[in-house]
Symmetry: C2
Subunit: 230 residues, 2 copies
């Protein structure tokens, strides 16, 4: 599987970027970078799914955005600033194409097409963050969980997701017991099936009915800016 941004590059651009690329496998829960640290690499997931999370002084973490093979992590900071704004963690294990920030920046400044892709992609991530803000303020845990599962499914391309309720709780910024309750509800409704860290999505359409609008809003923004993600 390839990364959707890289696959949109011209052959020439890709050749120019290629010397700086290196594929690496990451395990679930790996931390790619911490917030407010100098970053040295840019991450183009191919199989892995990465989340950008804010960490608060209390230790609590809140997810702002999720990126998979449809995007890139750290590109904006690579172009300028060079400091991460959030923590980047691997939600779902898989491969990531790592690129040096200097390689990306020099290539982007020579390739309007690449620069354009990065600028538009950055907007899709921004759109996710602002939608997360609205979602956390206005929507209930159950709708948020449905949204989250659908998003993880889209990015992983699989109906089986390896997440414990504990972990979901952290991502949704709620208590673990709250996740237990709504997960139970969703299972009773026949939408999902889960056991000990393994969640199967049985009825994606049903999940979408239960999800808040944020799922489709984020998708719409993405498709407008970068085309269908298939």
């Amino acid at each position: 599987m390839m990364n959707l941004l890289l696959s949109q590059l011209s052959q020439g651009d890709f050749k120019r970027l290629e010397p700086y690329l290196k594929v690496t496998s990451f395990k679930q829960h790996s931390v790619l970078f911490e917030a407010e640290q100098e970053i040295k690499h840019v991450y183009f997931p191919t199989g892995a799914v990465v989340s950008l999370v804010v960490t608060l002084a209390s230790g609590e973490t809140v997810e702002a955005a999720m990126v998979g093979a449809d995007g890139v992590v750290g590109a904006s900071a690579a172009l300028d600033g060079r400091i991460s704004l959030s923590r980047g963690i691997v939600q779902l294990a898989g491969d990531i194409i790592i690129c040096s920030i200097d390689g990306l920046k020099s290539t982007a400044l020579q390739s309007p097409k690449l620069l354009s892709l990065l600028i538009r992609h950055e907007q899709t991530v921004y759109a996710q963050a602002q939608q997360s803000a609205a979602c956390l303020a206005a929507h209930h845990v159950q709708a948020r969980l449905c949204r989250w599962l659908l998003r993880a499914r889209d990015l992983s391309g699989s109906d089986t997701l390896l997440f414990t309720q504990e972990y979901l709780a952290e991502m949704l910024a709620v208590q673990r017991t709250s996740v237990t309750i709504v997960a139970h509800t969703l299972q009773s409704a026949g939408l999902i099936k889960y056991a000990r860290g393994k969640i199967q999505i049985l009825d994606a359409d049903g999940l979408q009915d239960g999800a808040c609008e944020c799922y489709s809003t984020v998708k719409r923004h993405y498709e407008r800016l970068l085309g269908p993600a298939t």
Copy 2:
């Protein structure tokens, strides 16, 4: 008063941009653009303060970021995409320097300095959005109000702010009655004084003690990327 981004441009860059600039006054609550619309202009506030808000299907609005003379609104979309991701509203009346998106884009592609400023600024807005997400998820109304008032004070440069509780409630994504209660508490504590849409900040340090970490986190991100805003 000048815009902080524009004032960092070289004389040559500014001269190139100048033909596309036009100062306009905006009243409070003006809508600069709606979400998901084609944008034609970029906004450099000088006296005005602008908020970027997400509107949900329910009609509820949630603020993701606030920009004043320290920044620019719509620049990222101007560089590419050309579609707004959120609604832009004027929080506090004042002047805004309007620039055509074509003018900004062509100038930015010729001026690495301007492009760099825009890219770094975009990150400060992203940082606000993700912090808003965390804040809405984890922090109480009182701390959020303190944060919000301090931010509005910084951007307006004034200790007197013209906001009704109704309006504050919308920005904080809570009920008006909740604002009344915490505003009353803050007034009793001698931190603010308010009456019929006019809020005076009496003790900014006290407010900062009551505010959540998000206020200083956002400020720190900004200063790292663009220097002290003074």
